[in-house]
Amino acid sequence: MTDTPLDFGDPADLDRLRRDFRAWLAGHPLPERRPDEPLPVFLHRWHRQLHSGGWVGLDVPERYGGRGLSALHQVAISDELGACHAPGIPRIGYLAHALMEFAGEDQRRRWLPRMLAGDDVWCQGFSEPGAGSDLAGMSTLATRHDGHYSVRGQKLWTSYAQYSGLCLLLARTDRGAPAHRSITAFALPLDRPGVTVRPLRAMNGDDEFCELFLDDVRIEESERIGAEGDGWPLAMTTVSYERNALDTGHISKYGLLVERLRRVARDRRGELPDGLLSEIGRCFVDYEVLVAHARRRTAERLGGQAAGPESSIDKLLMTRTEQRLYETALKVFPGELHEEGGELFGDYLYSRAASVYGGTSQIQRNIIAKRVLHLPSLSKPPNPGAT
């Protein structure tokens, strides 16, 4: 695929879109975050505002509430948001892709427009206490009854479940069949009887992720996504898009910090310790390479390539960028280490999770080895992480 020229888009067309967006933004600036307003709540308000201007889901077909444009257009808007120091587009692209690929037509029409509008906030209930990297080992069980399922089990690390209305839930529908054919996906409304959401405190003090207890929760058959057993391929699609640099708002956030470091490099040139200047240069290179990489993926996707195992490469590049960036930022602003609740220090702590969430860096390497490079599987002991 990458042996032939790539089309990174028509700059004039994208410029027009950027200009329209900037004009809209001038009239609809980023709102103030209220004191004590949790970040997800604030971001949700921002999401709705962006949606009201038609700036969410540009690459989603119109019949599902999007604008039917290309991923290039969506990326251009992300760039603009970054450039004006605003938080990125809400991270829904990867969930939307999973629904577009696996949900029935009426489900898509029911859920996608509401997801784009922010009327429904979704979370992702995949991981369990006993099933992290080895996701296929999950034990939450959905037992089929007449026209509905009854679900029992526990999920862990469900990000922002406390702010969500719906959960994309994976559960086992068949205890006998091999793991990859016995997992089914559901859209679970979190206000159902039997659901308990318990937030867990992250090391940076945020309530990001939750425990989810499911105590004989009733899920209707119409809330099943795809067929029984489709849960595994759906999960793989979701994580592929989740790992892809394009579908996350991270890039613009990195860009802002890189620019901040570069301004310090210029203003405090003589004072910075030896080597720190080149570390900042390295952060800029990492960031620009990541942007170029995201554009290349967009170009490939427009050329008809779906997100697949190569998105593990994207995830590792993203992790490399983020972790080095925050490590460097702490060296440039050492005062952050001596402040209570410093924002940058909090972000540094969160950057450590980049090599864990969405599949750990080791699991990404396993995937690249097996599914991109097609290296053989270990013949003797059972092969971990080969999924």
Partner: protein
Amino acid sequence: MEAEEFLLVRDLFRSFAGRFRIGSADEVKPSPRAAAQRALAELGLGELRRSSPPAATVQECALLAEEHGRQPLTTSLLGTVLLAPELLRVLGAGRRSDSGTTATVALARDLRFPRADTSELVAWDCEGADSALCVTPDGAVTQAELGPLAPSADLLRGIRTVRSPQRIIGRLDAPGHQHWQAYALVMVSGELVGAAREFVELSVGYARERRQYGQAIGEFQAVQHLLADATVALEACVSATRYAAWCLDNEPPERALTAARVAKAEVNRSTVEAVQAGMQVFGGIAQTWEHIAHLYLRKVLLGATVLATTADLLVPLAEPEVTR
């Protein structure tokens, strides 16, 4: 070029590369080397950007540079076919070097872009060349004759000294100078990416075949992760180089130059890492003179110093562009 046309050119080039690639360092010899260079000249790729507008995009040229880097070839594609002709093109419509001569580019003795003092230059990638073009920091372009061969760690690439005096043949304006630097950085990066890519692919193939402890070494997770990391490093280089090439075709030269510097900085680090990882996978065999591993290692190692070293790039890139 149309897509099919490009594929034709590329396939033509691939069959050339397949015929003239060498199997080991012992095959680096003057007369086969000259024959290979003649065959390359006959492909006529130097004409690709001579028409106006150029028939080939920068991205297409970068892809050819990548193809050239993939095989152990002793030919000068970058110097004589891509860089010197582009420099003459940017200098002025239709200009060629003195009739009947083939030019390559002159670089500082340490292979970086020439600096103010041009008394000690080398003609880089000089196979088949009889003169060298030097771009001074203020944009003046000079031409000079070549002297004797100069030693170099890269066995595949010819380097010669440059004789004085140099004649001024023109001057680049500021955008032209930026374009030229960006173009040169992108082509060198492209060739190094090709080399590292090929070598990693070879080592992946080897990991599938070579057996120890009764199984393929590619089954061991330690080996898998080594190759996965090399792949990530390489893909970063591919993305950065392709994007910088596209910028040269579509964006103002100043932006393209930043993208090209970013690409070279990534390539300087990552292609060396990737080749070293590949060599580790080959084990002892890759430590021998006969094996092609060191041809690739030498190419990327020296390549990382060509035009701009990591140190040259990172410090300026640490500060915002003045004009932003």
